[in-house]
């Protein structure tokens, strides 16, 4: 059992005007896989290092299994960390790398050996135990770094952008392996990344950070379907959500009618009670939720195609409206749209997003239901 609680955690450096971490609260449940995601400089690594004990906590409380840990050093917290650079000890063999913590803990040799060999088995490193890190490939080094964490049977695994030094192919493979490992070890994990695909695929819970604050916290699909604000909307999801300005025309019980600055008038199924006619809003639509329609119309957006990216299974069409806005649409792989074509886009009001003047999401009427998702997952597995 390992739970982790952050209560209003703050970090300020002496001499720096603004806080680096501005009050983060979070509950990590046992065996949960939590991902901190955000642009560089958002404080996600600092937050992880504060949990690890490598950085001081300036304010708030960190508790592991209900015990306050602010004043405990890194070794005393029972955590293990996998570094971005792997931080393998270059002068030690793979075995010595994995054994180091156990040796410092003065574990008997027999026990040490058993633990190292078990970890090596799980990570398919058995044949490499007597090599030095220099003789290993990037993926193997990565696995040694994980192995070094595993042997300590930590309460929580901490990962600091562990895949960012790997090439694209290997990254995909290691991502799967980490997911498998999480299952196999039934461990609590906290994972920092700037890559929202890693966040989406690995996390039970995503914490989106920006400038030291939590922007939103929730399951991947919650964040994807119901981003709390423009930042999360733009950050989660690839290709990125189209976000463009508009104005409220009218509010009704079943939604609001808006006019985009670029022309079309749309009905969107969001709660209108907070919006007044004439209010400036931002309209958001994911590229995959937009359809290419045959004809123009008052609820259609027309634009000229500037770039077409054929990805095989799908096609990304970039277009520019007369008003100068850039839009991105995802269509099927067999699309014959070509550069210079004029296309007309249709929108689905039930899956589109509206953000108010402060950039906060206006609640959708067809919200994503976490319990329904959970039920579906149970049914599948």
């Amino acid at each position: 059992m390992a739970t982790l609680t952050l209560r209003d955690i703050r970090k300020s450096y002496p001499g720096a005007a603004a806080e680096t971490i501005k009050g983060v609260s979070l509950d990590v449940a046992d065996r949960e896989f939590v991902v901190f995601v955000g642009p560089s400089g958002c404080g996600k690594s600092t937050l992880l290092r504060m949990i690890a004990g490598l950085e001081d906590i300036s304010g708030g409380e960190l508790a592991i299994d209900g015990v306050r840990m602010n004043e405990t050093g890194p070794a005393g917290r029972g955590l293990a960390m996998v570094f971005q650079s792997y931080a393998l000890y270059p002068h030690m063999t793979v075995r010595q790398n994995m054994e180091f913590a156990l040796k410092l803990a003065k574990l008997p040799v027999v026990e040490r050996r058993a633990k190292v060999e078990e970890a090596a088995r799980i990570l398919q490193l058995t044949d490499y135990l007597d090599r030095t890190p220099r003789q290993l490939s990037g993926g193997q080094r990565q696995r040694v770094a994980i192995g070094r964490a595993i042997v300590r049977s930590p309460k929580v695994f901490l990962f600091d952008e562990p895949l960012s030094n790997l090439d694209a192919a290997l990254r995909g493979q290691m991502r799967l392996e980490l997911a498998r490992l999480h299952n196999e070890l039934a461990a609590t994990m906290i994972y920092v990344t700037h890559d929202q695909i890693e966040a989406m695929t690995l996390a039970d819970k995503i914490v989106v950070l920006r400038a030291g604050r939590v922007e939103q916290l929730g399951s991947p699909l919650e964040l994807y379907r119901d981003p709390a604000n423009i930042f999360v909307a733009g950050f989660i999801g690839a290709p990125k959500m189209n976000l463009h300005p508009g104005r409220v025309l009218d509010t009704r019980p079943d939604g609001v009618r808006i006019a985009l600055d670029s022309g079309p008038v749309l009905d969107v199924a969001v709660a209108g009670d907070r919006l007044a006619p004439g209010a400036a809003i931002t309209f958001g639509a994911r590229p995959e939720d937009i359809t290419v329609a045959g004809t123009a119309g008052p609820d259609r957006l027309s634009g000229r195609v500037v770039v077409v990216e054929h990805l095989g299974g799908q096609t990304l069409v970039h277009l520019e409206t007369d008003s100068g806005e850039s839009w991105l649409v995802q269509t099927d792989g067999s699309s014959t749209i070509a550069i210079g074509d004029t296309v007309h886009l249709g929108f689905d009001g039930t899956v589109s997003h509206v953000f108010d003047g402060q950039g906060q999401a206006v609640p959708r009427l067809h919200r994503h239901d976490p319990s329904a998702e959970a039920a579906r997952i149970r049914a599948v597995s």
């Binding site: 002496p14 001499g15 690890a52 004990g53 490598l54 050093g73 890194p74 070794a75 955590l79 293990a80 960390m81 570094f83 971005q84 650079s85 792997y86 931080a87 393998l88 000890y89 270059p90 002068h91 180091f100 913590a101 410092l104 803990a105 070094r148 300590r152």
Partner: protein, 288 residues
């Protein structure tokens, strides 16, 4: 292209005889300068294998019967071994002591920097710029009163202090190159500061520590201000021994050359080995 003469990245001049000739001209010039610079040393080594009479023959002999007379005489007449031993003891002692003080200091500044670290480093350097002659008198008097004149321990202390800023500085730059992540990984693994230094930092920074030690050895070995002023016989190193040849009590070129050759040979090899790191140490990292 014909105007490009002296600069010769080989890849750019696959063809063209002008480049080819320039290439050779540079080579010849480079070698001529090198031989000229090295010539006095070579001549000295040559002289050390002559007999005293051959050594002062005019015109100088290029062909002669090589003999170890000079070397033998250095051994028998002067107490060469004592001086050599003193050189070894004070150089190694001063270097070891400086490393002992400097490793923890450099560790602390490289991995636990505070707002004062930068100032401390620069201040340490500035102590190196105090001219020894400016403090000769107090040091001499202190040594006299403490009974440290002409003692190895006194010279070791001076050498340690003299080189400490350079040693701290070099170690600091080498330690800075050890990835912080690795020490943090150690900390996560439960290493305390002693474990961190012993099991991680020292093995990782060993090449840097070695070349720092080498530079310090060279500087101690060749130091000729304090050794000439603070020692006379009992603790006198080779610099003092060679200086004793300056008194005009007859000409003994062969013996002088033999003694000098023995005095500089070991350190020259060390110097050649560590020339890259030397730049870093001698310029305090100001030239990279």
């Amino acid at each position: 292209m014909a105007t490009v003469i002296s600069d010769t990245p080989v890849k750019l001049r696959a063809s063209g005889t002008v480049g080819e000739r320039a290439h050779w001209a540079v080579g010849v010039l480079g070698w001529l300068v090198a031989l000229a610079m090295f010539f006095p040393i070579a001549w000295m080594v040559l002289t050390s294998f002559k007999s005293e009479t051959d050594a002062i023959a005019t015109p100088p002999l290029l062909l002669f019967h090589p003999t170890l007379e000079g070397y033998a005489e250095v051994q028998s007449r002067a107490n060469y071994l004592l001086f050599a031993l003193n050189s070894v003891i004070v150089s190694v002692g001063g270097t070891a002591l400086a490393l002992l003080f400097a490793v923890p200091a450099a560790y602390s500044m490289a991995f636990h920097p505070t707002r004062r670290t930068r100032g401390t480093l620069l201040w340490m350097l500035s102590t190196k710029m105090l001219p020894p002659v400016g403090v000769l008198i107090p040091i001499y008097l202190l040594f006299r009163n403490l009974g440290l004149l002409d003692t190895r321990i006194g010279l070791i202390a001076i050498y340690m202090l003299m080189n400490l800023p350079i040693v701290v500085w070099m170690l600091y730059t080498f330690f800075k190159e050890v990835p912080k992540d690795i020490l943090e990984a150690g900390r996560m693994d439960g290493a305390n500061q002693r474990d961190e230094i012993r099991h991680l930092l020292l093995p990782l920074a060993m090449p840097g520590i070695a070349s720092t030690g080498l530079l310090s050895l060279i500087l101690c070995w060749n130091e000729a201000f304090w050794s000439l002023n603070l020692t006379s016989h009992a603790a006198a190193p080779l610099t003092q021994f060679i200086a004793s040849f300056s008194s005009p009590e007859g000409l003994f070129f062969s013996k002088l050359s033999a003694a000098s050759t023995m005095a500089i040979a070991p350190i020259m090899v060390l110097g050649w080995i560590s020339q890259k790191q030397l730049v870093r140490g001698l310029t305090f990292g100001a030239v990279k």
